[in-house]
C-alpha cells in the first residue's frame, strides 16, 4: 500500500486542481480518481501508450479568454462553435439558435437541467479509467446538443477546439465534456476539430463525450486531430445506440504528440448499427492510439470498423479493437479491419483485434495487416515517369482512400482528402 502511495504521488498534485467543482457527483468522481492508479506498461489497455509522464508536471487552470486568431472556415457551410482552452467562446461562435428542436449550447448552462442530470456520467461510467474519473470530477466546459423527436440540423455543427500556448508556457489541464442527446428519429452531424496555436505540447486535453442515439436516430461524428506541436490529446466517446439507431464516426489523426482515442459503443436495441472509421498519418515522434469497444448487447445489430494508417519517422500507431457479442445477441454482424503501412525502420505499429463472442449465430470477421508499401507498384509507377516521392504519395493516398470512400458527406470527404494529401507531402 505504501509503495502505491509513492507511485501515485505525482497524481495528487494534478488532482488537487480538480477540487471544489460544482459538477454533479464531482466529489465521488474525484475520490475515485484518487483511488485509481496511473496506467502503466502493465495495464493492458495502456500498454503501448505511456501516460505516466503526463503526471510528472504541474498544470495550471486553462485560460479561455486569451485572444485567438481563428483559422479559415471550412470550405462548406457549417455552424461553428468555438472553444478556447476548453472554455466556450460565444463571441467567436456562430448564432447557435438556428434549427427548430435543436439546442446547441455550453454544457455549463445546463448543469441543473433535467437532461443533463438524467444522463451525465451514465453513458461514460468511470469504471477503472482514471481519465474519465478526472474529467467527471471537474470538466472545464463542453458542448451540449439536444435534438428533439425528428429534429435535424440544417448543416453540420463544426466544433473548433483550440489549445493555445499558455501564458508563461505553463502547461494547462483542459477537460472538455460533451453531451449529445438525439431523441427518436433525430439526426445530427458534428465535426470535432482539435487545433493548437503556438507551442501547446506541454498541455493535456482530457475529453469525455457522452452520446445517446435514440430510436431510429442518426449521429455522425467526424473527428479531426490536426495539431502540430499540440497537447497530449486523450479522449473518450461513449455512445449508446437504441433500436434502429445509427452511429458513425470517422477519426482522422494528422498530427499529435500523444493521441488516444477511446470509442465505446453499446448497441442496445435491435437494428442498431455502428460504423467506425479511422485514418492516421504519422511522422516525426507522433503517437496515435485508437482503442474501440463495440458491445453487441442485443440481437440483430451490425457494426463495421475500418482503420488504416501510414506510419513513418519515429512515430507509433496503436490499434485495439474489441468486439463483444453477448450470449443472446444472435444474428450479430460485426466486421473489423486494421491495415498499416510502415515507412522507414524506426516507425512502429501495434495492432490487436479482439473478438469475444458468446452467441452462436453470428457473422464476425477481423483482420489486421502491417506491411511496407508495394515495391512492385512503386517501380511500375516510376518506370512510367512518376517520381519516387509522388509514387509513394499516390500509393499512400490510394491506401487510405478506402476509408475516405466510406464517408457519406462528400464535402467533408473532399476536404479531408486534400488535407491528407498535404500531410502526405511531408511524410
Amino acid at each position: 500500500m505504501e509503495s502505491t502511495m509513492i507511485l501515485d504521488e505525482p497524481k495528487a498534485a494534478v488532482l488537487a486542481l480538480l477540487e471544489h467543482s460544482e459538477w454533479p457527483e464531482a466529489g465521488q468522481a474525484l475520490a475515485r480518481a484518487n483511488e485509481l492508479p496511473i496506467p502503466g506498461r502493465r495495464t493492458e489497455q495502456w500498454k503501448y501508450t505511456p501516460v505516466a509522464k503526463l503526471f510528472n508536471k504541474s498544470y495550471g487552470k486553462p485560460d479561455g479568454q486569451v485572444p485567438v486568431e481563428l483559422p479559415a472556415r471550412l470550405p462548406f457551410p457549417a455552424t461553428r462553435v468555438v472553444f478556447v482552452n476548453g472554455h466556450f467562446r460565444a463571441d467567436l461562435s456562430d448564432d447557435l439558435k438556428t434549427d427548430k428542436g435543436v439546442v446547441i449550447d455550453s454544457i455549463r448552462h445546463h448543469l441543473s437541467h433535467g437532461p443533463l442530470k438524467a444522463n451525465y456520467g451514465r453513458i461514460a461510467g468511470i469504471g477503472d479509467r482514471l481519465f474519465t474519473a478526472m474529467n467527471t470530477a471537474a470538466p472545464t466546459d463542453g458542448l451540449i446538443i439536444l435534438a428533439t423527436k425528428g429534429a435535424k440540423t440544417s448543416q453540420p455543427v463544426h466544433v473548433l477546439r483550440i489549445t493555445t500556448a499558455a501564458a508563461g508556457n505553463s502547461p494547462m489541464l483542459i477537460q472538455p465534456r460533451d453531451l449529445f442527446m438525439l431523441h427518436e428519429g433525430a439526426s445530427l452531424e458534428v465535426i470535432d476539430e482539435h487545433v493548437a496555436i503556438g507551442a501547446a505540447s506541454a498541455s493535456l486535453v482530457n475529453s469525455v463525450r457522452e452520446s445517446v442515439v435514440g430510436h431510429g436516430a442518426e449521429l455522425t461524428l467526424h473527428l479531426l486531430q490536426n495539431e502540430p506541436d499540440g497537447p497530449a490529446d486523450i479522449g473518450l466517446d461513449a455512445v449508446q445506440v437504441a433500436e434502429n439507431g445509427h452511429f458513425s464516426v470517422d477519426t482522422s489523426t494528422l498530427h499529435g504528440s500523444l493521441v488516444r482515442n477511446d470509442i465505446t459503443v453499446a448497441l442496445e436495441g435491435s437494428g442498431a448499427h455502428a460504423e467506425l472509421n479511422g485514418v492516421y498519418l504519422l511522422n516525426g515522434n507522433a503517437h496515435c492510439d485508437n482503442h474501440s469497444y463495440i458491445g453487441h448487447n442485443v440481437p440483430d445489430c451490425t457494426s463495421d470498423e475500418l482503420y488504416k494508417g501510414v506510419v513513418g519517422g519515429k512515430a507509433t500507431g496503436v490499434f485495439n479493437g474489441k468486439v463483444y457479442v453477448k450470449q443472446d445477441a444472435q444474428r450479430t454482424r460485426a466486421y473489423q479491419r486494421n491495415a498499416n503501412v510502415l515507412q522507414g525502420d524506426l516507425a512502429r505499429v501495434y495492432s490487436k483485434p479482439e473478438l469475444e463472442i458468446y452467441a452462436d449465430d453470428v457473422k464476425c470477421s477481423h483482420g489486421c495487416t502491417i506491411g511496407r508499401m508495394d515495391e512492385q507498384a512503386i517501380f511500375y509507377l516510376r518506370s512510367r515517369g512518376v517520381s519516387e516521392a509522388e509514387a509513394w504519395r499516390m500509393m499512400s493516398h490510394a491506401f487510405v482512400a478506402e476509408v475516405l470512400e466510406r464517408i457519406e458527406n462528400t464535402q467533408w470527404k473532399e476536404h479531408l482528402g486534400r488535407m491528407m494529401d498535404r500531410k502526405l507531402e511531408d511524410l
Binding site: F379, R384, V386
Partner: protein
C-alpha cells in the same frame, strides 16, 4: 544513330548471376527482337534497362543517347524516353488510370523544361491514342489495371506507351497470354508508333509475335549472353529447329 549501346553487361539478383556479358547496340529506327529459352536472361535485361532495383549490375555499361543509363533513377529514364511494357502489369487499387498517366506525362514535361499539358489537350490525346489499341474508354477511368483481363492489361501497356511516346520502347513478353486478336491489336499499336526516331526491343518467347511486329534484327539469348544475332529469318529458323540448335552452332 546509336540510341542504346550495351557493353559487357553483368547483373544478378540476390546471389544469382543472370546476365553474364551482354553486348547489344540499337539504333534509332530499328526493331530488335530478343528470343531465348526460359531463364536465359531476356526479362532481366529488360528490367535492368528500366532500372528495377532488385537487380544489381556488377559489370559493364549501358550508354543511352550518350549518357550513362545505369546512373539514372527509373523515373529519369522514363523522362528521357525509356519505356518498359511489363510482362505482368501491376494492379494498383485506388490509383486511377487517367490521373496516373496525366501525372506521369506532366512530370516528364516538367523534367524536360516543357509546359504541363492541360486537361483538354490530355483528354484529346487520350481519345486519339486509345483508338490505336482499340481500348475501351470505360477502362480509362477505372483503377490502374484493377479487374482488367490479361489482354486488357497488355493493351493498357501499349496505350500508355502511345501516350508517353518513348524513344526506346521495351516490350517484355507482351505477347504472353494474348489470343490472336489481341496480339494483332497490340502489334498494330506498336507498328503505328514506329518511326525513324525511335526504336523497340521486343522480348518474346515465340516467333508468333514477330509475324506482326517485323524486326530488323533477331538476337538469341542463352545463359545470360547474346549468342547469336541475325536477320528476321533467324526467328523462323529458331521456331523450326529449337534453341538447342543455336546453342550447338553458336
Amino acid at each position: 544513330m546509336s540510341l542504346l549501346k550495351i557493353t559487357g553487361l553483368h547483373a544478378r539478383i540476390e546471389d544469382k548471376d543472370i546476365l553474364k556479358g551482354v553486348d547489344l547496340q540499337v539504333n534509332a529506327g530499328e526493331v530488335h527482337a530478343i528470343m531465348g529459352p526460359n531463364g536465359s536472361g531476356k526479362s532481366t535485361l529488360a528490367n535492368v534497362l528500366a532500372g528495377r532495383a532488385e537487380y544489381e549490375v556488377t559489370a559493364g555499361s549501358v550508354s543511352y543517347l550518350g549518357e550513362d543509363l545505369l546512373k539514372l533513377a527509373p523515373e529519369e529514364r522514363a523522362w528521357k524516353g525509356v519505356f518498359l511494357a511489363f510482362q505482368y502489369p501491376v494492379e494498383i487499387p485506388g490509383v486511377s488510370n487517367m490521373n496516373f498517366l496525366r501525372t506521369a506525362i506532366n512530370e516528364a514535361r516538367i523534367a524536360r523544361g516543357e509546359k504541363e499539358m492541360g486537361g483538354k489537350d490530355f483528354l484529346a490525346l487520350v481519345r486519339e491514342r486509345a483508338k490505336l489499341v482499340e481500348m475501351d474508354p470505360a477502362l480509362m477511368n477505372r483503377n490502374l489495371n484493377v479487374g482488367f483481363s490479361g489482354g486488357e492489361k497488355k493493351r493498357n501497356e501499349i496505350f500508355q506507351m502511345a501516350m508517353l511516346e518513348p524513344k526506346l520502347g521495351i516490350l517484355d513478353e507482351t505477347d504472353s497470354g494474348l489470343d490472336i486478336d489481341a496480339l494483332r491489336i497490340v502489334a498494330g499499336g506498336v507498328n503505328k508508333l514506329r518511326s525513324k526516331d525511335n526504336a523497340f526491343i521486343v522480348v518474346t518467347h515465340y516467333q508468333r509475335l514477330l509475324d506482326y511486329i517485323v524486326p530488323d534484327v533477331v538476337h538469341v539469348m542463352a545463359e545470360g549472353r547474346i549468342i547469336k544475332s541475325g536477320p528476321k529469318e533467324l526467328a523462323l529458323e529458331l521456331e523450326e529447329k529449337g534453341y538447342d540448335w543455336v546453342k550447338e552452332h553458336a
